[in-house]
Symmetry: D2
Subunit: 432 residues, 4 copies
Amino acid sequence: MHATVSPAAETLSVRPASSQDLLLFFCSVRQQTETLCLPLTPEDMMVQSCPEASPVKWHLAHTTWFFETFVLTPYLEGYRPFHPDFVWLFNSYYNSVSDQPLKKLRACFSRPSLEEIRAYRHHVDAAVERLLESSAHPEAVRRITIGVHHEQQHQELLAYDVKNAFWVNPLHAAYRSEPLAVATEAPPVRWIDFPGGLVEIGHRGEGFSFDNERPRHRHYLEPYTLASRLVTCGEYLDFMRDGGYQRPELWLSEGWETVKAQQWSAPLYWFHGDDGEWQLFTLAGAMPLAAMLATPVCHVSYFEADAFARWAGKRLPTEQEWEAAAETIPEPATGNFLESGELHPMPASSGAGLQQMYGDLWEWTASAYLGYPGFAAEPGALGEYNGKFMCNQMVLRGGSAVTPASHIRSTYRNFFSPDTRWQFAGLRLANR
Amino acid sequence: MHATVSPAAETLSVRPASSQDLLLFFCSVRQQTETLCLPLTPEDMMVQSCPEASPVKWHLAHTTWFFETFVLTPYLEGYRPFHPDFVWLFNSYYNSVSDQPLKKLRACFSRPSLEEIRAYRHHVDAAVERLLESSAHPEAVRRITIGVHHEQQHQELLAYDVKNAFWVNPLHAAYRSEPLAVATEAPPVRWIDFPGGLVEIGHRGEGFSFDNERPRHRHYLEPYTLASRLVTCGEYLDFMRDGGYQRPELWLSEGWETVKAQQWSAPLYWFHGDDGEWQLFTLAGAMPLAAMLATPVCHVSYFEADAFARWAGKRLPTEQEWEAAAETIPEPATGNFLESGELHPMPASSGAGLQQMYGDLWEWTASAYLGYPGFAAEPGALGEYNGKFMCNQMVLRGGSAVTPASHIRSTYRNFFSPDTRWQFAGLRLANR
Amino acid sequence: MHATVSPAAETLSVRPASSQDLLLFFCSVRQQTETLCLPLTPEDMMVQSCPEASPVKWHLAHTTWFFETFVLTPYLEGYRPFHPDFVWLFNSYYNSVSDQPLKKLRACFSRPSLEEIRAYRHHVDAAVERLLESSAHPEAVRRITIGVHHEQQHQELLAYDVKNAFWVNPLHAAYRSEPLAVATEAPPVRWIDFPGGLVEIGHRGEGFSFDNERPRHRHYLEPYTLASRLVTCGEYLDFMRDGGYQRPELWLSEGWETVKAQQWSAPLYWFHGDDGEWQLFTLAGAMPLAAMLATPVCHVSYFEADAFARWAGKRLPTEQEWEAAAETIPEPATGNFLESGELHPMPASSGAGLQQMYGDLWEWTASAYLGYPGFAAEPGALGEYNGKFMCNQMVLRGGSAVTPASHIRSTYRNFFSPDTRWQFAGLRLANR
Amino acid sequence: MHATVSPAAETLSVRPASSQDLLLFFCSVRQQTETLCLPLTPEDMMVQSCPEASPVKWHLAHTTWFFETFVLTPYLEGYRPFHPDFVWLFNSYYNSVSDQPLKKLRACFSRPSLEEIRAYRHHVDAAVERLLESSAHPEAVRRITIGVHHEQQHQELLAYDVKNAFWVNPLHAAYRSEPLAVATEAPPVRWIDFPGGLVEIGHRGEGFSFDNERPRHRHYLEPYTLASRLVTCGEYLDFMRDGGYQRPELWLSEGWETVKAQQWSAPLYWFHGDDGEWQLFTLAGAMPLAAMLATPVCHVSYFEADAFARWAGKRLPTEQEWEAAAETIPEPATGNFLESGELHPMPASSGAGLQQMYGDLWEWTASAYLGYPGFAAEPGALGEYNGKFMCNQMVLRGGSAVTPASHIRSTYRNFFSPDTRWQFAGLRLANR
């Protein structure tokens, strides 16, 4: 069972405007998280298979902790925490709130049980609903909105983490029961020109945004050219066959060190089947690469994206180039998001204009993740949400096949360390 | 509910003499493993909280794999493995059989589910019973016997691993529901002389033994003196208060490096409660140290045992001294084993003679774990059982409060690396 | 003996315009390297005291290797390499040229001896001089120019590495024989406004520049304000006394992890003297911090610079803000460079306008080190010089007290990983 | 120049009987150390190329420190330490004396210079001579004797460390100027029987011994059989060609982990020459393996020695078996020691009886390094000399081609961790 949400949510436009809307948004996102867990057993929800990942049960608890800590305790009169230990047990990284258990301990939290975590969720859900049904303090409303978006981020992380957990287990279980469709042909790349100039970057202020998307500010761009679609597995295979992983001149210095240390020779989740041919492990199980050549190449690090671009004689776009281009797409933008149920990037369509800007895969950009001019972190502990990671991370744009549709927008800045590969990330080329 | 086995099994004498006896032994040990799991949830059985440990679910599967691999496949005609992947998935370290998954991956085996593992157990149980009810090949009988003792070893490991899992989880759950009795007074140590001379060491050949207990051979001992009982928490606290963990001259060089690197300042599972006083974490939950001063000090490494002995102006006995002394105890020897349900070492009784030689705690000896003169490993893959660990390990003797009573004997050689502490280990002094 | 060069070189203006000028520049820089070694013994030149450092003898050889590899072998007819093994032995990181020995092996190169390295230098010097005295190929001339600037970079690294070597040795030798002057009072900070707007960034093309300074391009800046001088030791001590190293909310996430892992509680080279008071270790030996409060705080990482700025309610400038401000300073810019012989940052003067922009200390900026729009690396192996490091590094500007004066310019981009401290780096604040 | 000592010292018998003899012994050993340094430059003496090694300059200083600390300061009235910092700077591991610099810092001690260290040596030499020429306290005499033997141990370590330093340097310099003689044929192995029984082990008490050789005690041995000579390179090559490094069943578990982690495929110092054939690096430079097949295989770990023995269907002898056999050799025993100037193990002679028991190579035994029954460490800080290493080490017997002849005896116990290979170690087989 993988049809996880209602089709109505597949565009970018659904965002709450009123307290009532927010309550609906809150309930649907909270429900979505539980729906995502339907194919999983309580044991599956214990697994933490790489340092980047957390157990699904922890995601269930931490997203709940967020509402309890930042909304209910300060803004719901008479609210009592569900359990005194949960206050710090499910803190991820908010030093201003409390100490936290080491991340790697999360795999040891057999207690509280899944049932207790579910009771925790219901306890908190009821309280938030109570709060929203009365006239909640505007700051509470604002924080609930952040909390819902926060939970959507964890829905996406949950998909990453389940994929890795099922990959690491030699039995290679499938999360989605139906196999993926064969996809061997993609439309040719077209090169689309943009004029650049003094553009405006960052969120306009209507609707929700994170602090790292603000303030809107001017940025000067030279004219530039973007590929109409993402790089495909077939194209990436050409890079590999041309010695891509053996030629240091194609790589950043730190990338080359990583290739050698990690013995990388292909993207994550590519493996040789019993017949010696490349296979792709997906959330729908393993597929022969030959059947997937037209799908975008996925689970590459920044280092690999950058090396591919250098090999191709191109480059990665900056985040400002990406955003300025994305703003030319007529609303409502659509894409292959979590709600499509594919849970994997699909081949580009042959239509005109930019394809695959939203959904399918996060696109690595050539931009380091830093504060915009005039950036100010959220006040208080929520200021730890984004700002403290502004170092040694690269920006990715556009969302992926496991991003909830209502979570993404043109100004949205995702970020990961350049050596990470477990997230759904690919690349689009820019012309020099 | 923690009274886990029938009282009849509390002495050392119960060992199978016939095929029928073996079947009874097999069934009771297999059942015992399941009984030990009663206080645990499926999620508890997923946890692997330190490099030494394995998830309980893995123990359930691996002990079953042992029978399938070494008994059923070669000796039960027409036997089909329960699942083709289990053949290597639950191999621990037998390179001659197959490759194995990395040990740390065991925490990622959410699949197969606990239910499947239980079905695996029943499938294998039925097949072994079938085999034993017919006239089984003598080698099959011999291997089933090894397999039952192997499973008893994993019962003990299961207790270590659950204790560590519940310790690492900040909620500090208790495995045993009733708290431990207060124990603050131990009888004074008496020093008991042994004449030494040319003694015989090793298993006589009647009943079961592991290859590492053989062959029986002569060994010359100078006269020696042993303490009548184990070192207590109270005595160990004196060592700590005398700067035991701050004085390099008391430690082996590698021990001192470990103290500094691991920042050891007390045995494992000692911690400061909210009142600032020492607490002990046990399988029955936390207890104030003040209430446990008469119990043997537990979860010390060889390095700590050795440093304590040096501080006390004594030494640890050799394994030959221990064995020669143990052989003076009239049979049937009794002790505080798994079946007592205490799951923790208890104070010595005030009787005459050697106390606590069996049960309570494994006793670190001054002997490195090496092959006896003329040692020959089991033939085939079972030769990997013991022999390949004969390096950088120290011998422990006598069993512990989580050792099944029918598993131990005077010639039994346990072994651990000198820096390990998660096992139930303590020490008895010898006089210089 | 530390007066290492002629006073004439203390301004930024000295750059070669002709082949004859280049020969003079080449000779003076090559001589300067040797002069810097005068206070060192052959044994001193063997030390490699941290992963960032290289032995001085290696610097002597590698800078020579650069000329031999990139200039003499391709452009001097009939040139024979001094020694066939040196071709790869002294390669630093140019994968396109050859494999390289692991960096940490450099400390094992007792052979070739210092005398052989000196002979190597003279052999190469004579050949370069021969080449420049004839009509050298323009590309050879261009590469010699790069090689001279390359050697100046290694002069600076040599100073870092000697300082660290003398620091790590418990005898704490001084490189400079005369002690530093006492400096306890600095002029108050003034805040200087800049209009921003659409500015031009990058090298204009006259005179030498590295590829990473090009191409000159437009960049939009909001109006901004810079501090007139660097942050002092006294000001940094206030940060420390206000719990700077104990308050996670002041730090980037990765910075805070580093503080804990490295147990940082002060800048590098601060230590407690026998009297319990802070001391600074300098190239002129140890000084009481109390005597140095007005000097700029030195040997801080990006993480510390960023945390200090957050504590102060300010921020670090971007590299574009820095460069646009630097271009307002009338030429010839002066500063406390290597040639002053101080070998340590000195207090700011009380003059109007920006102080300490050049020399004293490299200034951490808030900018990640990335390619400028339209950036193209040098062709061939020299393309590995800068471009392959454009990841996980931050930009520093302005040169330091151990930078040769003729090496620096307003567009010069230095870069280091945000956790490094052995370089001469400090910070200037920008106002939000 | 490698003829390092007078031929008279090539037997085991030279040991001091009087104060005058001791003075001569002291002077000759101190001189020997300096002679060993003749082929080295001051830069060579700075190198520390593996964690086991120390720079030669440090050996020169530390052996001197030993006399100053343990003899001169307590027993020579009015003695003043040469330099106040040397008291802790050159302490190796005596926690009872002072703290010590981290071992890896030794490579950073460019200061004090070699000249200062030489002056330190002369200062201490003169003081020890003064002390011995008067009527020295018996304890001073005893400690000088220990100090001389200590210095001989460091002479041997110096040879190990120089060999490794010259190996790690890609130039592969030779310490000994003359190449080794070709040696392709060894006499066949003969198997020599020993009766065993209740033997006496340990030092008799006449002449010098270390505390770990005492007390002499009884030990029971079954009858056993030893090979007449060491295993050769040719025989080891057979093991390699039979898949020795690819077959886990031949290895101890920890050995197999080490093989995989270190990617061992041959002994240390074996490498493939440009012609693809095996070469041996020796202190006399590289030699084709084909020319050395009859020499004993050298620089193998305990793990390799043990795996070879298992492959050969034999085993390693215990240290007691070795000692009891060695005592059957008529005195004065001779061998290929440091004084032969070969600096490498030579082929066995074809004589009757045990060959190569002394000199050539340290022989790994199957015995863990533990205290003998009744062992008592030296009192005071000298008690740290041996006793604190009695854990996770295996015993080696017999001395090597870089052991001074007067240093060895039948009861001498050397010990190393089972994974070390930089020492001159090989193996002799025992029959099961």
